[in-house]
Symmetry: C2
Amino acid sequence: MSDTPPKSNASKPQTQPNRKGGSKKKGADASMRITPRDEDYARWYTDCIQKGELADYSPVRGCMVIRPHGFAVWERIREILDRHIKDTGHVNAYFPMFIPKSFLAKEAKHVEGFAMECAVVTHSGLEKTPEGDLAVCGKLEEELVVRPTSETIINHMFAKWVESYRDLPLLINQWANVVRWEMRTRLFLRTAEFLWQEGHTAHATPAEADEEARKMLEVYRRFAHETLALSVITGEKTEAERFAGADHTYTIEGMMQDRRALQAGTSHDLGQNFSRAFDIRFQNAEGELEYAWQTSWGVSTRLVGAVIMAHSDDKGLVLPPRIAPIHVVLIPIYRKDAEKERVLEAVTTIAQQLRDRDLSVEVDDRDHLKPGAKYYEWEKKGVPLRLEVGPRDLDKDQVFSARRDTGEKAPIPLAGLETSVTSLLDQIQADLLEKNRVFRETHTYPAETYADLRSVVEGEGGFVLARWCGNPDCETRIKEETKATIRCLPEDLPDDPGPCILCQSESVQRVIFSRAY
Amino acid sequence: MSDTPPKSNASKPQTQPNRKGGSKKKGADASMRITPRDEDYARWYTDCIQKGELADYSPVRGCMVIRPHGFAVWERIREILDRHIKDTGHVNAYFPMFIPKSFLAKEAKHVEGFAMECAVVTHSGLEKTPEGDLAVCGKLEEELVVRPTSETIINHMFAKWVESYRDLPLLINQWANVVRWEMRTRLFLRTAEFLWQEGHTAHATPAEADEEARKMLEVYRRFAHETLALSVITGEKTEAERFAGADHTYTIEGMMQDRRALQAGTSHDLGQNFSRAFDIRFQNAEGELEYAWQTSWGVSTRLVGAVIMAHSDDKGLVLPPRIAPIHVVLIPIYRKDAEKERVLEAVTTIAQQLRDRDLSVEVDDRDHLKPGAKYYEWEKKGVPLRLEVGPRDLDKDQVFSARRDTGEKAPIPLAGLETSVTSLLDQIQADLLEKNRVFRETHTYPAETYADLRSVVEGEGGFVLARWCGNPDCETRIKEETKATIRCLPEDLPDDPGPCILCQSESVQRVIFSRAY
């Protein structure tokens, strides 16, 4: 990957205690230190991921390994979002990951958008050369592209399945891996291969398709708010930022801690672009043939990157409770053997009480590590709540808690502990969202002049609310000069006529400019 | 795919009523007929899948589309098996689907086994030619193979993660798509791309690795019995049938209705073959460096094919309740409007009662189809239990049930309906397993002479229990002459010395010969 870390700790970490799943950890030595955000933000982000054991670099350019702790986060995201997708009437299916080259070419803008980042399979085998090397063999008649997205192959199948208006709407989702050969990659945020879900639907009317695209945007917005604690804003993309082949692209955009934007999910109104390219026609109630109206929408493992960048701190990962693989870590505190038995017994009881409430609990009873080393390790891994169980607290019928997000420490009475812990986790979830909302709003600035816009995006960063005339030339020049793009035309902003921030032409509304990931 | 169906019904099915997810159906017209097993077994199998809407042919050679009904079966399989895999201490992760060509070559037998079926990515883009075609561009420095299995890439990472005996065991599983470029493909049973899980583990001792390989075989056996109602047998493969790179391969083998064997899952003791190839060394408790001992194990979407071939009949799919996407279909029966209201009200109440028991219930209240057409359709889709709700039965405080597996019809009292239905589904699950066991045992024959063996495998088919001397030459000749392979050395068979079925040399035990999928 282009942001390959220094060799020093990337290849062979220190010998560390046994944890299943290849987790490796040790006390607070230098190589395990998280680079502070102020020192090197990009490095901090990578440290959070590697030292929090979410992911690792792979030997394949631009591809990463999602380690068990990181994959458990993705499993939680997938499970919750899958329920939302099914609750809104969609069903899952699976389509081939290979797409015939000719399919990609069928929709003109689509192929333009993706052709240069496609992994292409040209052969079906390898054979030993006389020199003992392996050479490709079995040249394919038609090259196959590894799906960068599946509109083409899915819509080819839709054309087989759709005949009548009674077959509509067709509401299908797929969880899959996709490949986009990006030049600059970054763990989770932009990798050559990534995991995602892609919804693909077909409808009888344009109104119904647009309603679907907006409905799924709302599903994403709610999911980001309620599950990821990301206070994203929603809006439509400009033509320049649209999905290749869409009539309208809607987006959710979050603000990261370096005040840059991150596109966290998109929903596209595809109009009839693909139905015309793939001949998806249906007989309407009047017996006439019409092309279907379509949408597609997706979110990916990029969401994990967004969560990390939005919530984590200089101690490492901060994970919202709803997607944290471990909700609570229990640390037994004792010095003498007599204390040990009593403490471990209490820890076992507490763990069971919490698990009975469907909480995921880790008991860290490793003997060879001091409590401080354990705190340090679980903080790096983002566990939302730590409970320390020692004899003095037990004497007072309490345990001692430490919140990962705020660092706040307080005793919690043993009586009603499950309820207190559940409430505290809910509070952490709510506080993370609120903190992210306040941060975004604090760093969102109206700008009346181009100089104002530049001073924000070229300075501390943030979202700039500025008028834009709708001319792509102005958009392009601002991007070239400031590296800021129009993130979206915000949905809930009232019209506010005035001069374009660049060319002074009459403009209807404000849009959001920002540098972005 | 090589068993491409006749054009007549593959491309455009008839116009059919609206069901979400692209499902299409209609009354009993000729094109919807399932070919009987006796007429054409291969055709019957394909009909069950296509007309039961589990999967469809794709435009990509050897790749299939798993339709929503089929994917829902796979989701149930995945969910249940994933729980077993986690309960036995494993964690999920995700590794890149691309493998550098040079990695594949590191283990000599492994590359021999897979090189000729690898999809090879050679380029990272497509560009327009002056003629307006798309040509490959961006030649890669090193070709990438789409994983046929992930030992090589995963063990490369293990070498990074394992240092000390404290890092062991490393117990990792991955759910992923893999590609093997097979010449002859068949829906679910053998496709170029398929979905699977692959476990990969590393251990400190050979005994522990072998124990792991056997433990996971037992997980598969129990899963096949309890969830898929497949009465598989277990045993070790011969050297000729081993996984490329394993020291020992253990297998579960089922018998299909044409009395051929189907390998449904395998678990491999890899010894130190990959740890030596990828340099996975750990410091043992004595401070010495040792190569790790490893296993890998997997099952795939082939299981869906096994379930279909084992249980379905001439009316179409028969799905075991534990993996059926729909447990119960409710059909309201009425003639007059006055009846309709009463019947639909009862149906709604019953549906809710059953859903409260976590049953998946479909209410088929379509007005334009007669009950008979509905029965026919849900039978094809393999729904285990149909409940007909009509005024005459309601007068008697009962509904009328029809089992999909036996066709048995009987009234069920409304009082305690949920409990009766749950018991009935359990009974269906148990009966399917028992039927499969009896079928397998009935068609398993001891053979003392080669002529006996041939008369079974070249005749009606079945499992033949015959002595084999252990010489691969005998195994090869029997395979060439009869197309029967040694499916396994059964685990629970006592030694039974005597002459080899072919060469008459002294043999220790009997093995199972059969033609296989």
